[in-house]
Amino acid sequence: MIRLQNVCKSFKGNYAVQNLDLEVQKGEILGLLGANGAGKSTTINMILGFLKADSGTVEVDSIDVARNTQEVRKLIGYIPENVNLYPYLTGMENLDYFCRLAGLKYAKNELESYLTNCGLQLDAHDRKVGGYSKGMRQKVGIAIAYAKKAKVYLLDEPASGLDPLASNELSNLLKKLAEREATILMASHDIFRVREVCNRIGILKRGKLVKQLHSSEVSARELEQLYLEYMQN
């Protein structure tokens, strides 16, 4: 579903991503681990079409991102680290607005069901987002992608700053989405959360994918050890 082949991207002569080959299948959650500047966000931005690869191909659902950016964007739901919605709108209104931008008009009960399915408690639906916690905003962000009927979810540091309960709810939500055949790519620093949620894990270092493994192959502690070894070498 997501395929990157021999992708390179540099900024002012410095490689941010180098000869990256990556594939994420339908129903799979791939976690990208890496230090700051490892190339995680650059990779996500290339898949989103906000950055153009210097070489190589980036495809989503077999569509070349560079050639059909708008087409690809229709398939992707993007959840940034901080889902900053419009604080003067309620959760429902935010969802409605972003859906309408995507050309989708939902009835009130449909919007409610999207928010509820994404774990946002009912009494928060009609409250202004300005009073939401980060976790609640993340849920609305996922509801926006979900209501868009995205096939692919790209999450950039989604668990950063979330309390354990909210983080756990997010993990469950992502697993549910994967069960519904969604393709999920998640960039994170949180080794334990990635180990818990993702089917596969990739470790990026200075723009190179230095290790790929199935999460079932390692425990969280082993993964942490492995990660530290790669980072220190």
Binding site: R73, P80, N82, V83, L101
Partner: protein, 470 residues
């Protein structure tokens, strides 16, 4: 899609307590300025009517008087106000509103409000246009400078684009929504003004109000568009705000003064003294209506004697003094026309040059059309003066003709025309300048505003193509 963006921006404007409070306060201020403007206009209109009636009554009360004595006695003409003047004061505050009409001389207008009221001379009158021209654009700049960068800084821009929004829809949507805010304030002004003067509305006023509305709307789009352009270009809202405020100060304070001074230097008008002495010089070459021993007067006398086939002016069936007075007047008028033609030529060139300056400063174009469509510009003022001069000539001719043909003989300076004659002398009636003429005069300003509109659209299109997302 753009509609959704505009709708969302408006939800922000309405739900933000600070903006809503400031907007309501500003609307209250606008309404107060309209009410004040209307109160002043109505008071001025009542004063005008009272003064006009009083002066006419004085004229009608003349029992018997020598017509030439009446020409020296003269009358007064008052500049009428129009209900649209309450929107934009224009040049009215400084031009004066009373002019004395008499024989031999073309007087200047006196009693400007600025000369009588310190507050007017220092700050001008509180008219809606003052708020619409200076304060509303500032409000728009403050609303627009952050509109695009906030989307980028919050990370919403990426989500917006992922939802299918195009950068052009975002940029134009933001610019239009804030323009609509300005247009909303403008609508409050035009509607309130119309409601307050509902009974006096006619098609001319509606057309002028519509042109006033369109001109300001275009200008507001230019202001919002340029602010959004800088905001998306600099990627730094503070820098965008600083840039736009600098442009605003340049447009409203420095450039008008610099350009006006330059235009006056390029096309100088003679000084008042130069003008007066040139007029005096030329006038001295003509006949002196009060001096029968003047050489030119003698020649004119011979001409008339031949025409009537008599030997002396005592044999003339008419009063030669009246003819001589009118000949003196006609010569004076020619001198006046010659010198004023030159002055008007320079003024027209100055005006045209200043209009062309709208290419670098659309505020100048707005100022011109705003005054033009509210009848408070120089065009209407000069048109009024021209009508007064036409009336003066007709008025004096009627009096001289009565002196000549009314039944008196040459030298009978104590002869008096009847009260009925004075009552029959027509009063001055001002005919407002036709809108078609105003439109022709300000076509260049309107054209330049439209040019700025397209230029802004071009800049916004470029900004949307190069919009920084990351």
């Amino acid at each position: 899609m753009m509609f959704q963006i505009i709708k969302n921006e408006w939800r922000f404007l309405i739900r933000s307590k600070v903006i809503l409070g400031a907007s309501l306060g500003f609307i209250a201020l606008l309404i107060v300025s309209i009410l004040l403007g209307n109160f002043q206009a109505k008071k001025q209109e009542a004063n005008y009517k009272e003064a006009k009636d009083f002066v006419r009554q004085q004229w009608n009360d003349i029992k018997e008087m020598n017509p030439h004595g009446a020409a020296h006695y003269g009358t007064y003409v008052f500049k009428p106000s129009n209900l649209l003047n309450s929107l934009d004061e224009g040049v009215n505050g400084v031009t004066g509103n009373i002019i004395r009409v008499e024989g031999h001389v073309q007087n200047e207008m006196v009693h400007s409000e600025a000369s009588q009221m310190q507050v007017v001379s220092k700050f001008g009158k509180l008219k809606s246009s003052l708020l619409l021209k200076y304060i509303v654009p500032l409000l728009l700049i403050f609303l627009a400078f952050h509109a695009v960068s906030v989307e980028k800084q919050s990370g919403r821009l990426k989500i917006l684009l992922m939802q299918g929004s195009k950068p052009s829809s975002i940029i134009f949507g933001k610019a239009l929504s804030i323009t609509l805010y300005g247009i909303g304030l403008l609508t409050v002004v035009v509607i309130t003004q119309s409601l307050l003067n509902f009974q006096n509305l006619d098609s001319e006023i509606i057309k002028r109000s519509a042109l006033f509305f369109i001109s300001y709307s275009i200008f507001y789009f230019v202001i919002c568009g340029l602010t959004i352009f800088f905001a998306s270009r600099w990627q730094n809202s503070t820098l965008a705000l600083t840039s736009m405020l600098s442009i605003w100060i340049l447009w409203t304070i420095f450039l008008p003064n610099i350009l006006l001074s330059s235009v006056e230097d390029w096309h100088p008008l003679p000084s008042r003294e130069q003008f007066k002495s040139a007029m005096k010089e030329d006038r001295s070459k003509g006949m002196d209506g009060h001096n029968s021993r003047d050489e030119r007067s003698k020649a004119f006398e011979q001409e008339i004697l031949q025409k009537y086939n008599v030997d002396t002016i005592a044999d003339l069936p008419i009063n030669f003094d009246g003819l001589r007075m009118q000949a003196d007047e006609d010569f004076g008028n020619k001198v006046w026309d010659k010198h004023f033609k030159e002055i008007r030529k320079v003024l027209t060139t100055q005006k045209r040059s200043l209009q062309l300056c709208g290419i670098v400063n659309p505020y100048l174009s707005l100022q011109n059309v705003s005054m033009g469509f509210t009848l408070s510009d120089n065009l209407h003022h000069h048109d009024f003066l021209a009508q007064v001069e036409t009336y003066r000539r007709r008025f004096i001719k009627i009096l001289n003709d009565e002196q000549t043909f009314g039944g008196s003989k040459t030298g009978q300076w104590d002869w008096k025309a009847s009260s009925d004659f004075y009552k029959s002398v027509p009063d001055f009636e001002y005919q407002p300048t036709a809108l078609s003429s105003v439109f022709r005069n300000y076509l260049l300003d309107l054209g330049l505003l439209v040019f700025w509109l397209f230029f802004t659209v071009f800049l916004l299109s470029r900004a949307s193509k190069k919009m920084p997302i990351l």
